[in-house]
């Protein structure tokens, strides 16, 4: 089973507590296909996280609509899962119980199956041996692995990642980028992955398609296909073509980033 997403002329306006309205997203169209890794890249305040939340169903669009397999998205559903920017692990649950968070309500699943799923994703994210550790005993990178495993455990068709590596140190971040490809395996599982980041290099390295967002109201300035075969190694980042793509995106985003900075 694999899903596709259509985003049609989506706008989002917010009301600030001061009464001022903010036009966060200004007319976005997207056609997202299964087995593809998409990135939303753009300056702070470009509406990329808002767009992610709307696809997830946490926020309704002000105008336009988002279709998941032809049905309008009205709220979070079990076929979507989020990897949060902050790990958001429950401090009173150990690794296994945190990973289990999203599947323990699934009545059709026996305790043994649940255990097997937890074991499987504990293995995949490389946390064997840490099952009974509590979040405060884990490093930031390990916490993000649990965060990822928790989302993968519900076996979502759509995996939403909201700057998941932003709080990691530079080296851990590089390693996680490389490992993420194996851990999520979207090509074979037919998942749609949407990855929000403001790190251009990260976006290009991971994605099949990069969406470049303009500053508020966020629109898509360009949709860039990244041609390198997957899985990629960090070495790709040194290839001239990679650097060229990265450079082109920066050219595109620099003005927008400046606007964001002056805001």
């Amino acid at each position: 089973m694999s899903s596709s997403i259509q985003v049609e002329q989506v706008h989002k306006t917010f009301m600030k507590p001061t009464g001022e309205t903010v036009h966060a997203v200004g007319g976005i169209d997207m056609d997202l296909r299964p087995g593809t890794f998409y990135s939303f890249v753009g300056p702070s305040g470009c509406g990329k996280t808002t767009m992610l939340h709307m696809i997830h169903g946490l926020l309704p669009p002000t105008r336009g609509r988002i279709l998941l397999d032809g049905d309008e998205v009205v709220g979070p559903t079990p076929n979507k899962a989020v990897v949060f920017q902050q790990a958001l692990l429950l401090p009173w649950r150990n690794v296994t119980d945190n990973i289990q968070f999203g599947i323990e309500n699934d009545r059709g699943m026996s305790a043994t199956e649940r255990r097997e799923i937890c074991d499987k994703y504990t293995q995949i994210v490389g946390l064997r041996g840490f099952e009974s550790h509590y979040p405060h005993e884990l490093s930031g990178g390990m916490q993000q692995r649990v965060n990822l495993a928790r989302a993968l455990a519900v076996n979502p068709e759509i995996l939403l990642m909201d700057e998941p590596f932003a709080s990691l140190d530079a080296q851990t971040r590089l390693l996680m980028q490389e490992e993420l490809q194996r851990m999520v395996d979207w090509k074979n599982s037919g998942k749609i992955v949407i990855f929000v980041t403001h790190d251009i290099e990260e976006a290009v390295f991971l994605s099949d398609v990069v969406f470049c967002f303009s500053f508020r109201p966020g629109t898509i300035m360009k949709e860039i296909k990244v041609p390198f075969p997957t899985p990629r190694t960090l070495r790709v980042k040194e290839e001239p073509e990679f650097l060229q793509i990265k450079h082109d995106i920066w050219e595109l985003l620099a003005d927008e980033a400046r606007k964001a900075m002056e805001e």
């Binding site: 079990p78 009173w92 150990n94 509590y134 979040p135």
Partner: protein, 261 residues
């Protein structure tokens, strides 16, 4: 030398506590020796032997039972009601804004000021004492529980929504465990205040109880009885606090490492 310092490191908590008790007892004994009049002061050893005497003769057992009942029901109801109301306060902003002034008012009012009213309304029997203990103990439990609920970040609500966790499960999967450390603090404060409530309640008319015995000691110039009752009240507080801490450690192992050091 190494073995001795290792022994000290391992048993440090206990050794320090015992040492602390010893030092204070020494000063206390010295003061007693200086005052040298049982009308005004008694030493620690006398308190121990006098308390032992009260138990041996059985004359204190009724009082312990009565005060125990007062505390048990008063604090028990306060704990349940306090946690329940604290949760509602934490979840519902309207409820919180509506009742907050009253909660603060009850918290600020000394139990000594409320007790006479309650005695008049409920009579001199057990009910009045239970109500006094309840009212004194419940407020810190409510306050701490609701502070605890508020301390659980909004982002955990988002987390629950994202994973399609039904709202009623949020209560016991997130809000209750998340506020547990605060609830424990509330219960510990409630214990201390509840014990005060017992004594205050018995001050305004009683036929038995630890507080009653204490004030009887005051009326009859029985200093050993007064100090013995005070010591028993203090001891109860210490023991109950330890019980709560042990329960917390059992229920909240994730806090273990942060609590230990």
């Amino acid at each position: 030398m190494g073995a001795l310092s290792n022994f000290y490191q391992e048993q440090r908590r206990w050794l320090n506590a015992i040492f602390g008790i010893g030092v204070v007892a020494a000063f206390w004994s010295f003061a007693d020796w200086q005052v040298n009049s049982e009308l005004f002061f008694v030493g620690p050893w006398r308190v121990v032997t006098y308390t032992y005497g009260l138990f041996a003769s059985g004359e204190i057992l009724d009082d312990l039972y009565i005060s125990g009942i007062e505390f048990f029901w008063g604090f028990g109801v306060a704990a349940f009601a306090g946690i329940a109301f604290g949760m509602i306060f934490g979840i519902s902003r309207v409820f919180r804004e509506f009742f907050d002034p009253w909660l603060s008012a009850v918290y600020a009012t000394p139990s000594v000021a409320l007790a006479p009213l309650i005695i008049i309304w409920f009579g001199v029997d057990l009910t009045a004492k239970i109500v006094i203990v309840l009212i004194t103990a419940v407020v810190p439990i409510v306050l701490n529980t609701y502070t605890g609920v508020l301390s659980v970040g909004k982002e955990f609500q988002t987390l629950a929504n994202s994973f399609c966790i039904p709202q009623r499960q949020v209560l016991y999967k997130i809000l209750i465990p998340g506020s547990l450390p605060y609830i424990v603090t509330g219960l510990r404060l409630g214990i201390s205040r509840g014990i005060v409530g017992v004594v205050v309640g018995e001050y305004f008319g009683a036929y038995a109880g630890l507080g009653y015995q204490l004030f009887k000691g005051l009326d009859t110039f029985n200093m050993p009885l007064m100090m013995s009752c005070a010591a028993m009240l203090a001891g109860t507080g210490v023991v109950l606090n330890q019980v709560i801490l042990v329960i917390e450690r059992r229920m909240a192992p994730w806090r273990d490492s942060t609590l230990q050091e």
